[in-house]
Every structure is written in structure tokens, then in C-alpha cells.
């Protein structure tokens, strides 16, 4: 598609234009930069945690600072990286993939970002002396009402700002997705990333109010002396856990579903064929989204809820493994009779799949009370969700960074350094998280600043710390490669991956208005029909 009347790329804008922009691409980039900065802060705090656990005893930080680092790491990784990064991919890709010039409500979109930004500033304020929060990202009362936990108000307001941003953004993007698709892009033909992104936003709309309610009750209890969670005055602390996990379990699907979407996009493109079992993939996404709301009690298997409820929820929990398995099987099926190209994003994608398989399989026993009773709140749990979020999600996101890098910048990244970064990330994180499983099986409780000098624990912790530093070097190389390539990289063609997906049919970087005229997609077009592109080369 030729473009008329464009004199500068969309990123060649002044600071004022950036601040007042309602352009979905600029907003997407701002989300991305914010998420990445917070990812690095959270990563550095993780290195601090690993250093402290290198040997028993307290060497580098005292317990209070350790707990602060851990809270910071958890909150930032969850809300800024694992959730926030989808603000970036979603905003950037959604209008391009459906042939729209912007989202449905561009100004609401800008408001969402600036609310997110306000939450970011508030989160950084907790680094100031005297306002440290030390209650972990879960913030369970009655502990969070104790002065030892730090100022709860910060936490509650951060959640409210993030929640408002998420809700506004979710409604905006659902409306955009459902009502602004260009002619010829049916729901069935829509990119799989958009299906998972749609499911993600629906989960946000249904779930966020529960968390917002929970932290509001916390705020009232702490500062206005209500007694929602105070057992001495008739409250119940377990109520908080129910409200909290009613959102915070589905939120793991908010994090991982779009990652599944990215994996589907990349594996199809680099196998040069349509996703295997596309219909069942779409059903699997919605199956996960719906089942995700019926499993939250597995976080509370030891919290004193009646035994029969634990059993009931163990069945619903393990059933989530079924749609998740379907997705993995179909990805493997997509490789069958493909023509597979091992580019950096493809290698990231394959790593994400095989690491997610470990993360998924180790999630199943956590849903079995007979197993959970022995490793609840141990490092096994931590290792499980680091395989899912720290590896599968992060690898998919980094794969996505590389995949859409030419689209975003019009430049090509360095394949060599991209692969070096990935190899280091894979070596480091597998040493790190796999040994974390073992120390967890041996009983090491999570959120411990110190541990007894049990010989095997010391060895396991030391290797984990080595792994963490290798991982950090890999992440550093990966990000540095992208930054340097954006400046010095070779010019990339408009469609380096030869994908018929709509975002690749326009110039790179995309013109400010995306499409000169709203595209009418022909009946034989499909985002994964690679032959169609060959036939129509030159016309698009």
C-alpha cells in the first residue's frame, strides 16, 4: 500500500507532541518504555534478593530492606511488566491489524496511559525513606494493617490508578476490536493475537473491580477503623484473600493469554503456514478465560477454607490444563510440514513454548491438595510461576520485540547479538529456576531473607544466584542490541518476514495515519495465508 503525504515517521515528533498525543502507536511506545524501565528496576531488585540468598545469614541487606526489595520486585513485575507490557503491544498492533486509523476513543486511550504513568510515579515514591511498603504484592491483612507493613495507602492508590487505567483501556480496546475491523476482516479471520487480547480485556473488565474493592476495604480498615478484616471485631481476614484472588488468579491469564497470541503469530509466520487447529485455538483461549474465574481457591488451599471446597477447586484447577495443553499441541502441529526459519524471534518463540510446558506441568500438582499441602508457599511455587511469567511470558515478549522491531523502527536488529542474548537468557534462567524447584521440594519457604545452613540448600541457592546473573547479562545484551540497532541498524524492508498480516502490508515505520484509505480485504486474504501474499506481491 503506497502512502501519500508523509514527511516524517511517526516517531519523529517533538516532546510536546509526545505528551499530548492521542496516536495509538506513540501511546503504545510510551507504555512499552515505561514497562521496560520498571522491568529493569524489578530485575535489579531481584539481583539484590539473589545476592542476599547466596549464603545463609544476612550479608548485604537487613530483613526490612529485603522485604521491601521483594515487594517491589513482585508488584513491578506483575503490574508493570506482565500486565503493563500488553498496553504496549495491544495499542501498537490492534489498529494496524484490523485496518483502523486509531482506537475507538483516542483521548480515553491517552488518559489510560497517563493514569498508568501516575501509578508509576506513585510506585517510585515508595522508594523514599519512610514510605517503604513491605507487605508483598499480595498484601494480606491483618499483616498489611500492621505498621510493620508500611503505608498501605500507597499500595491502595497505586492499585486504583492502575485499575482505572486498565478498565478504561480494556473497554476502549474491546470496542475498537469489535466495531472497527475493516471490511473483510471477520472475527474468524482476525489474528490470533487479537483473539487472546480480546479475552484478556474481558477478564480485566470482570476482574479489576474485585481487587479494587479488596484494597478499598483495606484502606478503610487501616485509616477509618472499619472492621472488614479484623477478627476481634467480627471481620474475617480470609475474606480479603477471596476478593484478592478472584481477580489475581484470572490476572495470570491476563498476562499469559496475549503471550500465547504472540507465540501464535510468530510460529505461524516462521513456519510459513496457518496455525494448526485455528478454531480449537480460539475455543481454548475462551476456555482458559472462563475457567480462570473458577479456580481461585487453589491459592488458599491451606488458609482454613473447608476441605470439600479445596477438593472442588482442585478439579476445576487441573481442568485448566486441558485448553492450555490444546494450545501447546496445536503449536507443535503448526511446525508439521512447515518451512521453518530459525530467526531470533522464532527461537524466542520455541523457547517460550518448551519453557511454558515445564511451567504448565509444574502448575498441575499445585492444584492437587495432596501435593500442595507439602509445598504451599515454598520456592516450588515461586519456580513454577517464574517458568510461566519469568520465562514463557518474557521470552514471548522479547520475541515480539524482535519480530515487530522492523515494523516499529524501519531498521533491522542484529541477528547474531539477538541469538547470543537468548542463549544466555535460556542458560541463566534454567539454572536459576530449575534449582528453585528443587530447593522448594526440599521445603524452603518463600519470602525468606535467611535460611538455616542446610548443606543442599546452600549449594542450590549459590547456583541459583549464578544463574540469575547469567540471565541478567543475557537480558542486558538483548535490550542493548535493540537500542543500538534502532540507531545504527541496517534499513529493513517493509515486510521482512513476508507476512500477509495487515500490519506488514503498510510501510515500516507506519505512517502517522496508518492507512490512506480503510483497506477492503479480499475474500481469499487471511493473516496466515502466505501464498496469497506471493500472488499479490507488488499490489500490497
Amino acid at each position: 500500500m503506497a502512502v501519500v503525504g508523509v514527511h516524517k515517521p511517526w516517531f519523529g515528533a517533538s516532546v510536546k507532541e509526545w505528551i499530548f498525543t492521542t496516536d495509538h502507536k506513540k501511546i503504545g511506545v510510551m507504555y512499552g518504555v515505561t514497562s521496560l524501565i520498571f522491568f529493569l528496576i524489578a530485575g535489579i531488585s531481584a539481583l539484590g534478593i539473589r545476592l542476599e540468598l547466596f549464603q545463609p545469614g544476612l550479608q548485604y541487606v537487613d530483613e526490612d530492606h529485603y522485604n521491601q526489595l521483594l515487594t517491589l520486585h513482585g508488584v513491578l513485575m506483575q503490574f508493570w511488566w506482565a500486565v503493563g507490557i500488553w498496553g504496549s503491544f495491544g495499542n501498537f498492533l490492534l489498529p494496524l491489524m484490523i485496518g483502523a486509523r486509531d482506537v475507538a476513543f483516542p483521548r480515553l486511550n491517552a488518559l489510560s496511559y497517563w493514569l498508568f504513568f501516575a501509578a508509576s510515579v506513585m510506585a517510585l515514591l515508595t522508594l523514599l525513606p519512610g514510605s517503604q511498603i513491605r507487605m508483598m504484592w499480595t498484601g494480606y491483612p491483618p499483616f498489611s494493617l500492621n505498621d510493620n507493613a508500611g503505608p498501605v495507602a500507597f499500595y491502595a492508590l497505586v492499585i486504583h490508578l492502575l485499575g482505572a487505567a486498565s478498565l478504561a483501556s480494556a473497554i476502549n480496546l474491546v470496542v475498537t476490536n469489535l466495531s472497527m475491523r475493516a471490511p473483510g476482516i471477520s472475527l474468524k479471520k482476525m489474528n490470533l493475537f487479537l483473539h487472546s487480547f480480546l479475552a484478556m480485556n474481558v477478564i480485566q473488565i470482570l476482574g479489576v473491580p474485585a481487587l479494587a474493592g479488596a484494597v478499598t476495604m483495606l484502606l478503610l480498615d487501616k485509616y477509618f477503623h472499619t472492621a472488614f478484616f479484623d477478627p476481634a471485631r467480627g471481620g474475617d481476614p480470609v475474606l480479603y484473600q477471596n476478593l484478592f484472588w478472584f481477580y489475581s488468579h484470572p490476572v495470570v491469564y491476563v498476562m499469559i493469554l496475549p503471550a500465547f497470541g504472540l507465540i501464535s503469530e510468530m510460529i505461524a509466520t516462521f513456519s510459513r503456514r496457518e496455525i494448526f487447529g485455528r478454531t480449537s485455538m480460539i475455543f481454548a483461549i475462551w476456555g482458559i478465560a472462563i475457567l480462570g474465574f473458577m479456580v481461585w481457591i487453589h491459592h488458599m488451599f491451606t488458609s482454613g477454607v473447608p476441605d470439600w471446597i479445596r477438593i472442588l477447586f482442585s478439579y476445576t484447577t487441573v481442568l485448566i490444563g486441558v485448553p492450555t495443553g490444546i494450545k501447546i499441541f496445536n503449536w507443535i502441529g503448526t511446525l508439521y510440514k512447515g518451512s521453518i526459519r530459525f530467526t531470533t524471534p522464532m527461537l524466542y518463540t520455541l523457547s517460550a513454548i518448551f519453557m511454558f510446558l515445564i511451567g504448565g506441568l509444574t502448575g498441575i500438582p499445585l492444584g492437587l491438595p495432596a501435593f500442595d499441602i507439602g509445598i504451599h508457599d515454598s520456592h516450588f511455587v515461586v519456580a513454577h510461576f517464574h517458568y510461566v511469567l519469568g520465562m514463557a511470558l518474557t521470552l514471548a515478549v522479547f520475541g515480539g520485540f524482535h519480530y515487530w522491531f522492523p515494523k516499529l523502527t524501519g531498521k533491522m536488529y542484529s541477528e547474531f547479538w539477538g541469538k547470543v542474548g537468548l542463549v544466555l537468557i535460556m542458560i541463566g534462567s534454567n539454572i536459576f529456576y530449575f534449582l528453585q524447584f528443587i530447593v522448594g521440594l526440599e521445603g524452603m519457604p518463600r519470602r525468606y531473607a535467611d535460611y538455616p545452613a542446610i548443606e543442599s540448600w546452600i549449594v542450590l541457592h549459590q547456583w541459583q544466584t549464578f544463574g540469575a546473573f547469567i540471565l541478567a547479562i543475557g537480558v542486558g545484551i538483548g535490550i542493548l542490541n535493540l537500542i543500538l540497532s534502532a540507531k545504527f541498524g541496517k534499513k529493513a524492508p517493509d515486510n521482512p518476514w513476508e507476512s500477509p498480516s495487515l500490519e506488514w502490508l503498510i510501510p515500516s515505520p507506519p505512517p502517522p495515519h496508518n492507512f490512506d484509505k480503510i483497506p477492503h480485504m479480499p475474500a481469499d486474504w487471511d493473516p496466515y495465508n502466505y501464498e496469497w501474499l506471493k500472488k499479490h506481491k507488488g499490489n500490497y
Binding site: G57, P231, R272, R310, L335, S339, P369, F371, Y448
Partner: protein
């Protein structure tokens, strides 16, 4: 490293002799069932995946284009039904084990355990109490954990070997969680509620119990030592007059 790996295997010894502690043997069984199934599933996915990656890699001249395979409804049904059967089996097996893991045997010895910031109190049926304060477990100078032999005896909870113990748990302040390492059981201590768990340790020795719900500054020192002694020795300790020094420590 080698030791750690051996530890991994050793921790879940396969012997069918009397287990070190109960109901840990059920946890071990659940672990092995899950592990075996998981390894098989991993291989079932990984081997074809790796094979496809090699066989269908892009080759100039011979494999430049993908062939068309859209979907296979039979396969989709198959890999929906088989996982359903596997997970239902796992959940049902867990249900069966869990019933035993949660039901204390008849005539179990009852101990009340109360968590507080930061320590545990153990109250025996005759009123005898043991307090495990966090600072009894740490070196006053380096603040690191003391080894078992340096921890004062009065901070250790005596447990008779081979006798099932039913623990009634609660908390004075915030939520804690009582984890008995050898028995592989965990249950939260929740203020305003009484929760329960049971365990039986067959082999005399000293064992850790840890707090597993984050509870503030000294969470990682909120431990207890279970001193498991033969029944006669326990009777002797249990019968001793309540130590005044210990009681005054409480106040």
C-alpha cells in the same frame, strides 16, 4: 551440586519400610505419580517438536514452502479427551490421599500451636507450654541461624516418636502458616479461626518447622524445632513440673 542432586533423590526415598514421617509418604506418592506423568507428557510433546524442527527446517531448493495441513478434528478430539482423563485421574487420586492427610488418626495426641509476631507457642494437654521465639534461633551477633545443638533446649517442642500428633492452630495477630518439614504438611494459622493438621514422626531426632505465610521483619526466623524423642523420654519431659523460668519468659 552433586550433593544437592543426591539430596533431591534422597529426600524422597522410595523405600517401602516405615516412613520417616507421616503423612509424608502420601505426598511422596503423589509426587512420583505426577512426575512420571509429566515426564511422559514432556517427551510426547518435545520429541515430535524437535523432530519437526529438524525435518521441516527451511532448506534452499528442497523445503522452501510449507505444505498445507489445516486441521485434523480427530487429533483435536484426542488431545482434548486424553488430558481430561489424566487430570481427572490426578485430582481424584489427590482427593483419596488428601482425606488421609487431613484426618488425624483416632486417639491422636493434641497440641495447640499459636503463631505470633514472631514465634510459636506450643501448649500441651496438661498445660505445659513451650515458647519458640525467633531470637532463640539466631546468633546474637551475626543474626544467622543457629545449628540445632546451639539452640536452647527450652525453645524446642518435644514430640513423642511414632505417636500421631493433632495440631490445633491459631494466631494471636496476623496470618502465619505452620509447616512441618519432615511430614510435608502445611496449614495456616489464622486469627479468629482454629485450623487443624496432623503428623507423626517415627524417627527420633530434631526437625524444622517453619512459618510459611509472610508476616513481617522476622518472618524468615519464625521457626520451631521439633525434638522427637522416644515415648519414655517424652513421658519424663512431659511429667516434669512446669518450668517457672519458661512461664516468666512469656510475660
Amino acid at each position: 551440586m552433586r550433593r544437592a542432586m543426591l539430596g533431591l533423590l534422597g529426600a524422597f526415598s522410595l523405600s517401602f519400610a516405615e516412613p520417616l514421617a507421616e503423612p509424608a509418604q502420601l505426598w511422596d506418592k503423589m509426587y512420583y505419580i505426577w512426575l512420571a506423568i509429566s515426564v511422559v507428557i514432556y517427551l510426547v510433546v518435545f520429541i515430535p517438536g524437535a523432530y519437526f524442527l529438524v525435518k521441516y527446517r527451511y532448506k534452499k531448493g528442497s523445503n522452501e514452502e510449507a505444505q498445507h495441513v489445516h486441521e485434523n478434528p480427530m487429533l483435536e478430539v484426542l488431545w482434548t479427551i486424553i488430558p481430561v482423563i489424566i487430570v481427572i485421574y490426578l485430582a481424584t487420586q489427590s482427593f483419596a490421599f488428601y482425606k488421609t492427610q487431613r484426618t488425624a488418626p483416632e486417639g491422636a495426641f493434641e497440641i495447640k500451636v499459636t503463631g505470633f509476631m514472631w514465634g510459636w507457642s506450643f501448649e500441651y494437654p496438661n498445660g505445659k507450654q513451650v515458647y519458640a521465639f525467633f531470637n532463640m534461633f539466631e546468633d546474637p551477633e551475626t543474626k544467622s541461624y543457629l545449628p540445632f545443638d546451639k539452640i536452647p533446649d527450652m525453645a524446642k517442642a518435644y514430640i513423642p516418636a511414632g505417636v500421631p500428633i493433632k495440631v490445633l492452630l491459631t494466631s494471636q495477630d496476623v496470618i502465619h502458616s505452620f509447616y512441618v518439614q519432615p511430614a510435608k504438611v502445611t496449614e495456616d494459622a489464622v486469627p479468629g479461626r482454629i485450623t487443624h493438621m496432623w503428623f507423626k514422626i517415627n524417627q527420633p531426632g530434631e526437625y524444622w518447622a517453619f512459618c510459611r505465610e509472610y508476616c513481617g521483619t522476622k518472618h524468615s526466623k519464625m521457626a520451631a524445632v521439633l525434638k522427637v524423642v522416644p515415648k519414655e523420654e517424652f513421658e519424663k519431659w512431659y511429667g516434669e513440673a512446669i518450668d517457672n523460668k519458661q512461664v516468666s519468659l512469656n510475660k
